[in-house]
């Protein structure tokens, strides 16, 4: 096998977010931000990404690795590693238990030591798990550039496969998540082998109060050109009482609204079917988690111990 190595490029380290942005400006669109490197370096090896320059932001970890509650939001810094999200008590208490479920099946523990939230969502791989989680939770990306900050919802963030709204002089610094009353959530994934990208994955988040769904987020991964936001299902859920038949209907909508391709991971029809099944399952477990407490996460764990 031929050795894979990135094309020649220049390298520098950032000393602060402002310094990173100044460097991006000076390099005029020819640079990429390098965080954990577990998406960008493989892309560079395959020559699918050929930046003339990489700006290493690992020195900014003290500034950009955090998970905190601020007002009615949870804010996660762009350099927060997957392992930190997997092990965060604040995330498991606030969003039971979508982060743990997605992070537990995202790549492997050694990759999760390095890979970051910012790297995952900026890679904009339509099959990646965490982007589905961010979409279902209605997270918003905070982009900082020379003119200051702007906040972009996931709808406008992922423009296509491997394409985001981040301009060449901007970097993602944070993702913000609204805290929802009576929250329950779940992530379901079917993969070929441990740690692989999904054949199909579904992320679901619900807010249930007084027996009524007041918040619904549904996203599917690996079944379209971007993470697929299943808006029709969300609209059908809000204002209703949670029930298995309602979640069945929402799953059918997901199945209809995704646009998978046939490839080595399965046929389009198969993926469409799986998207529906996983969406229904994720919604059932999200509702159970919202109403029944943490026991359902343990069920999930015993399920993956197969």
């Amino acid at each position: 096998m031929a050795m894979q190595t990135p094309a020649p490029c220049e390298y520098s380290r950032a000393t602060s977010v402002d310094d990173a942005i100044a460097q991006l400006q000076a390099l005029g669109g020819n640079a990429r931000i390098l965080a954990g490197g577990h998406s960008l370096i493989p892309m560079m090896k395959l020559r699918l990404a050929n930046p003339g320059h990489v700006i290493d932001i690992n020195p900014l970890e003290p500034e950009l690795n955090y998970i905190r509650k601020q007002g009615n939001e949870i804010r996660i810094g762009a350099m927060t590693r997957h392992r930190d999200m997997l092990e965060s008590d604040l995330l498991s208490k606030t969003f039971p238990h979508i982060f743990q479920e997605a992070e537990a099946v995202l790549a492997d523990p050694v990759v999760r030591n390095r890979g970051t939230l910012g790297g995952s969502v900026c890679q904009a791989d339509p099959a990646e798990d965490l982007s589905g989680v961010v979409t279902a939770l209605k997270g918003e990306a905070v982009l900082r550039g020379p003119e200051g900050e702007r906040v972009v919802g996931m709808e406008d963030f992922h423009l296509g496969p491997y394409m985001t709204a981040v301009e060449s002089t901007e970097m993602l610094v944070e993702v913000r998540f609204p805290i929802v009353d009576g929250h329950g959530s779940a992530h379901e994934k079917v993969e070929r082998r441990a740690g692989d990208f999904a054949i199909v994955a579904a992320s679901a988040a619900l807010g249930i109060k007084n027996g009524t769904i007041h918040f619904a987020g549904v996203a599917c991964s690996a079944v379209g050109p971007t993470t697929m936001h299943i808006e029709r299902a969300e609209q059908a859920l809000v204002g209703k009482s949670p029930s298995e038949s309602l979640f069945q209907q929402a799953g059918e909508m997901a199945s209809e609204d995704v646009s998978p391709n046939s490839d080595g991971r399965g046929t389009a029809d198969y993926k469409r079917h799986v998207a529906g099944v996983l969406t229904t399952r994720a919604l059932n477990r999200a509702a159970a988690s919202a109403m029944g407490g943490p026991a359902y996460f343990h069920d999930f764990h015993s399920n993956v111990q197969r």
């Binding site: 096998m1 050795m3 894979q4 190595t5 990135p6 094309a7 020649p8 490029c9 220049e10 390298y11 380290r13 390098l34 490197g37 577990h38 370096i41 493989p42 560079m44 090896k45 990489v54 290493d56 690992n58 790549a107 492997d108 523990p109 050694v110 990759v111 030591n113 390095r114 441990a194 740690g195 111990q305």
Partner: protein, 163 residues
């Protein structure tokens, strides 16, 4: 560019191309061939070394990103007098290697799993299997690898506080 790091307690510094991967720095510049180079896609875990005590895939890390960090490879695991680290002794005791290609990476991950677990002797098979899910053994000798990690955890518990 100039890159400097500590590998197994020894300082190294070289003028390298920025695109140089850490695995090639370790093998070709530091001339430590115990770290193997496998799938090159961060899947197989052959190239795992410890950076500041945490395992990382050195085929998916630029040498420049290790600037100022402490790297431990398989050559740095044993004590200076040659006494094997318990994880190495465990692999010996439990016959946890056949071809040996995955062994340095497996031992680095195993070393870390024992260190980070609050009660290492109570690790479940699932925890160990999940923990090494980023390391592939081409010989499929996983059962003995799991026994070796367990052996090391038990040995350390039995010898805690002694030197």
């Amino acid at each position: 560019m100039q890159v400097s790091m500590t590998i197994n307690g020894q300082a190294y510094s070289h003028d390298v191309e920025p695109r140089l991967l850490l695995v090639h720095y370790i093998r070709e510049y530091a001339e430590l061939h115990g770290t193997h180079w496998g799938c090159d896609t961060s899947n197989c875990g052959i190239c795992i070394v410890l950076m500041d005590g945490e395992p990382l895939k050195s085929c998916t890390t630029l040498a420049a990103m290790a600037e100022g960090h402490e790297i431990t490879t398989v050559e740095g695991m044993a004590a200076p007098d040659g006494t094997l680290d318990p994880i190495q002794q465990g692999f010996h005791e439990m016959h946890a290697l056949q071809c040996g290609f995955c062994t340095p990476g497996m031992m680095a991950t195993g070393r870390w799993l024992i260190k980070k677990h609050p009660n290492p002797t109570q690790m479940t098979d699932h925890e160990i299997r999940d923990g090494i899910s980023g390391n592939l053994c081409r010989c499929t000798g996983y059962d003995n690898i799991i026994k070796a990690i367990r052996w090391a955890a038990q040995y350390e518990a039995d010898h805690a506080g002694r030197s």
